[in-house]
Amino acid sequence: MRIPGSMLFSSRYRLLQKRLHPITKEWGLTFYVLRHSTLAVVGGLIALAFIFIALFGAMLAPYNPISANIQDRFQPPSASHPLGTDTMGRDVMSRMLAGAQHSIKAGLIVLAIAVPLGVLLGGIAGLFGGWIDEVIMRVTDMFLAFPSLVLAMAFSAALGPSLFNAMIALSIVWWPMYARLVRGQALAVRETSYVEAARSRGASNWHIMFKHILPNCLSPILVTLTLDMGWVITAAASLSFLGFGAQPPIPEWGRMVSDGRIYMLRAWWMSVFPGLGIVLVVLGFNLLGDGIRDSLDPKLRRLTEVTWKPEKTSSSSTD
């Protein structure tokens, strides 16, 4: 009955290749669907451009984004200053290029804290149920009872206004969403017969958590994550706008809008362009997130799979 492994696969490499193949195929299909949605491609390009600017923006900036240059104050957009200059004569475009990193940092840090925390708590709540679930969910209810911006404001005021503290504050208000998401998914997965089959064979809670629940949470988390990137950037900018986030002279975009506010009549470009930047980036992540959601939608996948021929598919005759 047993066939020795060496006879089947000539090497470990081939085994690995065989196992990875269907996984890459799945992602290939996802990417294929994604690529065929114009909006998702646009969103993806914006997101990529934004990440690029965040990484290299400071080097690309033609002027020093921090130091003042009084004789060039309030220059309207021109060839030498495409987006104009601000009250201290600093080039708005350079400041925006240099400031992109703060927005993306905010997004990454917040999600890096909030997602694992939410996933862990939500997973535990959904898997164990009973009073553990009750306690965790009541705590998330409490956090969700505040408008997140207000709670984040209170947190960052308590911690002292700085961009880093604003991020901590946002993480504290962001995790409950993920806890809810994962718990809902965990409850659904827990009811499926594949989990019952695993339990009937003696699978432990941890086995079910890591082999069944978390993998099934992956796609909804991925979608929410992408959409949330935009939300977090807006929220961080809002905090900065109110004076709770980035402090001068850091060229954070929300802060720049706030700084330009009182000069709207004299130099509208000071507020308009950084704000436009935020809109564009958030739009990009929203489009990308919607695209990913669609590409993971089983209905659409089934329809597309037929036209997608990554390799010859062998047909099977048994049923």
């Binding site: 089934r302 329809l303 597309t304 799979e305 037929v306 036209t307 005759s317 048994t318 049923d319």
Partner: protein
């Protein structure tokens, strides 16, 4: 067999679904006729096009789908050519439908009585109060206990059997000429399902309606239907009266299918198997759609689509075993 008038004639009906992946040829020139006052059974395995036939008759084929050609004649009027508004006067009034799953087919947010009364209100323009009263009467007729009280309940407050009774009441409101029943007992328990079968039969006799009975269950066909069409992969392969079908099935598919059923009569250790599996309808097999799985496959089978032949009076079979090539081409 006496000649009776045909109520509904489905003539070379071809319905296709235009998806991203290609054209799904769901129905390929399906023809049958339902006579006045008879129960015509359409039997086949899942995906063979039974339900698409029903929705095609009612003009309710879902979005990427379209009736490409063919006619559906109700008393000589072609339903395919009718406008949406004209069809609305046919639906629920002259042709009514009972669906498989009464749970999802009843609107969860409306009371049973109101849902049953709707055809009265919109087809017969009865005042709402009167319609609701009439609805409880017809509900009582379907054997729903405490119909007056139950008509004020929401669907989730009734059992599956009661919901199906409500669906039946709803379909009978306007005394339709044709009742389409799409597997109405599949989701019900054995004893409840039997009650529903008996009920439909009684009501059919009382109302004198014709019934198109769609099912996958050969036993239900044996007990319910007068004539039967056997469907396979979007085509009708055999069509005859029910006794002939069970005594003398001719098409290789029908024959094998009947022997695959574990039956009370013969207790064989091994059941008959049909090799292979039901084909995809995006690129269905050429010629006879059953040929890749058929024991008697001949050279012609993969080339030419077999036409229906009358092998004995009233017994139509679409198979090359029974007819020469000349008729087919």
């Amino acid at each position: 067999m006496e000649t009776r008038e045909d109520l509904l004639v489905v003539d070379r009906l071809k319905t296709q679904f235009f998806t991203y992946g290609g054209v799904v040829e769901a129905l390929d020139e399906v023809s049958f006729e339902i006579r006045l006052g008879e129960i015509f059974g359409l039997v086949g395995e899942s995906g063979c096009g039974k339900s698409v036939t029903a929705t095609s008759i009612l003009g309710l084929v879902a979005k990427p789908g379209k009736i490409v050609s063919g006619r559906v004649l109700l008393d000589g009027e072609n339903l395919v050519e009718k406008s949406e508004q004209e069809m609305n006067r046919v639906r629920g009034s002259r042709i009514a439908m009972i669906f498989q799953d009464p749970t999802s087919s009843l609107n969860p947010l409306f009371r049973i009585g109101y849902q049953v009364a709707e055809p009265y209100i919109y087809h017969q323009r009865r005042p709402k109060r009167q319609a609701l009263k009439d609805a409880t009467e017809i509900l009582a007729k379907t054997g729903l206990p405490d119909a007056v009280e139950k008509s004020r309940n929401y669907p989730h407050e009734l059992s599956g059997g009661m919901r199906q009774r409500a669906m039946i009441a709803m379909s009978l409101t306007c005394e339709p000429d044709l009742l389409i029943a799409d597997e109405p007992t599949t989701n019900l328990d054995v004893t409840i399902g039997r009650q529903i079968l008996d009920l439909v039969k009684d009501l059919q006799r009382e109302f004198g309606a014709s019934v198109l009975w769609i099912t996958h269950d050969m036993a239900v066909v044996a007990q319910m239907c007068d004539r039967v069409g056997v469907m396979y992969a979007g085509t009708i392969v055999e069509k005859t009266d029910v006794r002939t079908l069970f005594r003398n099935a001719k098409h290789p598919y029908t024959e094998r299918l009947l022997r695959a059923i574990p039956s009370a009569v013969k207790s064989a250790d091994k059941l008959e198997e049909i090799p292979g599996s039901v084909p995809q309808l995006i690129h269905p097999p050429t010629g006879c759609r059953f040929h890749p799985r058929c024991d008697h496959v001949m050279e012609i089978c993969s080339r030419v689509k077999p036409v229906e032949l009358e092998v004995e009076p009233g017994h139509m079979v679409a198979c090359h075993l029974f007819g020469g090539e000349k008729e087919a081409t």
